[in-house]
Amino acid sequence: MPRFIRYLAPLALFLALAGLLYKGLSLDPRKVPSPLIDKPAPAFSLKRLKQPEATLGTEDMKGKVSLFNVWATWCVACRSEHPVLMQLAESGKVAIYGLNYKDDRAEAKRWLLRYGDPYLANAFDADGRVGIDWGVYGTPETFIVDQQGVIRHKHIGPLTQEVVRDEILPLVEKLEATSG
């Protein structure tokens, strides 16, 4: 019996270490977990992109499950996720708000005219101050905020059909079911 253990112990140790490192291979180091999950969304109130005379803020998102999408015209990956957002907006399954991050107002408006506007409204974050409060470090980023204004999920990188189908919509449905 002891001999048996003596031979198996290093093997077990090796397998454990290999398993750990293998898991590490499949993790994306660019996806840093946000400390804001399950915390109240950082409060802000900014001028809207299309109607600068009105503001958009955390308060506007309360009372319904919202998708808060951080984007910019200089962000290449935002272009690739845009059709996904358009489709999601057409389905009407979730309220989509945007944070136009460190962008040029005229260019951003032109972008929405050209590719379509999936947003109920956009907040215009010219200096990126609100982005910092939300822990944004790479556009596009997408947050799911529940009815009480609590952040429930963060997706880093462009949304895809799969992400919407497997992550976003199930969560939205679950949140809507809990309290209306």
Binding site: P33, P35, G128, Y137
Partner: protein, 157 residues
């Protein structure tokens, strides 16, 4: 020789400028201590280019966060408060020196556990070797020797 010296001087100068790339100019004549500022931005990680600190990085976000650090210092916040500000937004990952807590135990103590296991194995091996070298026989050989000798002793009587 003269050519070589010129080349060397040029290289040194070129190298010296890389450290200055993209650093913005802040006014340190007021209540913001430049040394403290430099210390802070050196220990906060830039999330865009993850192996660089705020001090090293030329990323857009690093510019913004350096300004944020400067502004926070100007409002009189201490290092702890500024670090908390960053952690609240970006998580422990922004720190080059992560705090000791249950989720980082493996990170902090894992190497020592591995070291301890290694030392245990080393001690065991060394002990076995010394026991062996005393008589020149291994445990098994000794047991066999004993058995054989015992049998012979029995036969003798």
């Amino acid at each position: 020789m003269k050519y070589l010296r010129t080349l060397l001087a040029a290289l040194c100068l070129a190298w010296a400028t890389t450290g200055l790339a993209g650093m913005e100019e802040f006014d340190f004549s007021g209540n913001v201590d430049e040394d403290r500022y430099k210390e802070l931005i050196a220990e906060i990680r830039c999330l865009v280019c993850q192996n660089q600190s705020l001090a090293d990085s030329d990323a857009e976000l690093a510019h913004d966060l350096r300004k944020e650090v400067y502004d926070l210092m100007q409002t009189g916040q201490d290092n702890g408060q500024i670090v908390d500000f960053m952690v609240a937004r970006y998580g422990d990952f922004v720190l080059y020196n992560p705090p000791v807590k249950p989720s980082t135990y493996l990170l902090w103590y894992g190497p020592f556990v591995l070291l301890a296991i290694g030392i245990l194995f080393l001690i065991r091996t060394v002990r076995q070797r010394t026991r062996q070298s005393e008589t020149g026989f291994s445990d098994q050989e000794q047991a066999r020797l004993k058995a054989v000798l015992g049998k012979e002793a029995d036969e003798d009587t």
